[in-house]
Symmetry: D2
Subunit: 297 residues, 4 copies
């Protein structure tokens, strides 16, 4: 069984690392703040003092960090994974980062003799814990094949997309749909409220039929209860829609609904709600309509 | 058991009527073109020569017709349901029509001593046949209660929304989400194609996670195969988004994504594709991007 | 010289009526509130006690009232212009109303033997006072020719468009441009402010070159001074964009920028600013950007 | 009188250089393709063999080139202006480039002891020839003051905006208005056509009143005649709207109409019309409406 190194033990990283540990993989971990590793260490994981050291102790290193900059840092920076490169090492970046950055890291990894996969995920901490993530993978096909058993421990749907950067590209396409769907759901709830319909009825009826969306399922109830703690923050969604629009600019594709959804989302950011969940876009529409979505009687 | 009259035996009406017949309800039917009733008559239903005659023979009359005008005609026109009004008669309009028209018919029905429900549905012929529709109902609560057993033969999710017109209003809110989601899915598929991703990968990865939509599930595969035969036509979706925007105008709600989705959908209409399925909006975006969504290799 | 009747002495009607009087036309006036006629009577105009009486005393009756309903009332209602119909009478409706209503009034006028023109204007009270309005005219060409001298006293640009309703239709097209341009100007001022540019610099540079707009000229300085007293209210602009979008729906034209501008304008209405000038849309964008446009020290 | 160097003799640069020459300034020029300098040399200008040589022979060097890359090249590249730096030299970049690039060049110029101004212009070749440009200037105030007499030979409106990069920033704000206004004008012309109005009537009536725009004045007649030779290309307008939206992203401003106008403009690019004038966006809307704007009878 491959020795796995896991770097980045945030909300998503922790349950993912735990699943691998429980599946029997020897696991070495590192995280910027060491406290977050304690539970895993208690469960049998080993600690290394740097990404470099993790790499030296592993056959496969998985990184799961915040953004493009953090990903570049842990892989290519001082004391990073690539400094611990050795024959046979594979790097899997499961963070959601810009395709250009992903390709740039992959190139540098290749120069160090390390094949890399970009393998961002869909899902939330609960889904990660259940091993039911969606995983979209870019990079060399043979590296993908070698890592498939690992992916299958983490996800219920593993999609090989193509060369390096294609996993992160598909992630942008995926999030474009999510971002627009959340906007649609928010528009629907504000309209329903002002039209005198209890918003719970909207959630109920859209649980069947063609208007069914993950956005309503996961965010509808939270919007109504005004629980805006972040599953996926407005800042991150805005960043992803911006990257999707940049991709669209490069490819020559017009994205009218994505484009306008981003402008509304930006208002949430400008109004200081960027760290809240992306469904806080509801409050932008509420302010425009001068109303608040609430239960009837 | 109530004697049911069923008016309107189109793609949706036929399987709905059949379910009621199979549940043991005595069934009298009428349709503008009689041929469509043949299967039901063979299975035990009775034929009446007019909506009026259907009403005279029934305790509950269900209408399931094309649009506001057709609905007004079969209920309030010459030889219509209300001319067959008798004590105890209930009228259920399951067509998707404008809330104003629904309220107007309800008022005229009430004048004839006939309580009315507006009860539009979500789903397609297959779903109707399986009795798994979503049904949203407006009208007097006691009338709803009296008809609930009937609804439960047709739908898996029956939502009582409020007074007359509230069922059709919720239908607009529901379809707003569907219309924007289809636009989002179409934008995603065009972007993916031009970014070099096989569109099947988009369908696959969005089958899990927050980007999950009925729009992708029901329309994604059809868009890729370019099967634009109508489940719900571009004309009808455009009409519903227009009604939702009119409602938004009356209520004072801004709907940016809905608004722009309608403009794109209108192009499909203007280009002569209005009778095709609403997912033909894909071709509008394709033309704008000067590309065609197709499978890789 | 034709005897002219003038109905509707509001902000626009008064200076228009005065110009006709000063040009030597015998003038009979009526207004819902008589006080507003006092200055004109002092200057030589006559008062009649109803639109009907005005018509009886005139060869040409001009109506300049608030909206479709008011226009229908003074022309077709009890005591209205058409009750005073007599051979040779011409009706000119210079109000900005819906093309359908205009055509409907024209038809009723025709039944009474009265040819009608729809002749809405562009401009403001100052422009009206200077006789520099833009006038777009629909109706029978020979009626237009007969009235041209009158129009030339009021406007610097008189455009004959076509049959009845075409003047009001062109007015919608005209206002579509104005509505979108005001939105563009508001977006520019908010962006400039947050980018650290004194908004006066934007006004100054856009006074020359391709970015020149009447919107900036007439509204830019007012937005900066936050003078939102209505020249043309947000409610009226919203109504006109809605009518333009309805026309677009009927004609099969997609209007993306108009559509989104209307949604932003609606927020101004919903937030209780509908009676203010349409440039109050600035405050909607300011709230979205969490800023206020102001001069730099 | 300052000795002026002029680099970049394209459609705009040539008439600008000629005005300076005619105003009596000693003029040294350079252009990538020398042929374009011939007329100016015949009129008394001198030729230098590189931007560096131009700088050595001048007190003030003006660059007027295509884009950010070209501007960086002629100023900071091998044989560029900064290699010819000498005490007293001033650099004025009148090209329309990204504010970041402008600031970056300014910093490098400063390191070479050369104060720089960014001074992009509004107008077209005819306007340049008449010395009626709009000029917006960023950079040190005292440098601006020293160059004001030069600017006044070129432009009728010279606006000092602030530090380096502020001229190019205001240019983006200016072009945002122009881009949206052109979209509005195109929407208006397509709607008018399908509503049965001769598009010339739209041009005529919008020449007065609040709907007045430079966009209609300069582009309306060209759209009708389908003269899409570039004054300002769709590619350039798309680039500027993209930079404005990037600025908006950094500043936290939502630009709904700008955003959607860019998506429509992108379709023109994708359809191979990027080198045509930005008003070719008309054809995108025409295709969506399945019509062609043309004169009546």
């Amino acid at each position: 069984m491959q020795r796995i190194g896991f770097i980045g033990l945030g909300l998503m990283g922790q349950p993912m690392a735990r699943r691998l540990l429980e599946a029997g993989y020897p696991l070495t971990v590192w995280n910027r703040t060491a406290e977050k590793a304690m539970d895993l260490l208690a469960a049998g994981a080993s600690w290394s003092t740097s990404p470099k050291a993790v790499a030296q102790a592993s056959d496969v290193v998985i990184t799961m960090v915040t953004d493009s900059a953090a990903s570049e840092e842990v892989s290519c920076g001082a004391g990073g994974v690539l400094e611990g490169a050795h024959p046979g090492l594979i790097l899997i970046d499961m963070s959601s980062i810009a395709p250009e950055m992903s390709r740039s890291i992959a190139e540098r990894a290749k120069s160090s003799g390390v094949p890399m996969l970009d393998a961002p995920v869909t899902g939330n901490p609960k889904v990660a814990s259940d091993g039911k993530l969606g995983i979209m993978v870019g990079g060399p096909k043979e590296t993908f094949d070698a890592c498939l058993p690992i992916f299958e421990k983490l996800g219920v749907k593993v999609v090989y997309v193509g060369g390096n950067g294609m996993g992160t590209t598909l992630k942008l396409v995926n999030n474009l749909i999510m971002g627009v769907a959340i906007e649609a759901v928010a528009e629907a709830l504000v309209l329903a409220t002002k039209a005198g319909i209890d918003p719970r009825k909207v959630i109920e009826i859209t649980s069947v039929g063609g208007a069914r969306t993950g956005a309503m399922e996961t965010r509808g109830p939270r919007m109504i209860k005004r629980e805006f703690s972040p599953h996926f923050s407005a800042n991150n969604m805005h960043k992803d829609l911006s990257m999707a629009l940049k991709l669209a600019e490069e490819c020559g594709v017009s994205l009218p609904a994505t484009s306008i959804s981003r402008e509304i989302l930006r208002a949430a950011k400008s109004q200081g709600k960027g760290e809240l969940d992306s469904c806080v876009v509801l409050t932008v529409l509420e302010a425009m309509a001068n109303t608040v979505v609430k239960l009837k009687d």
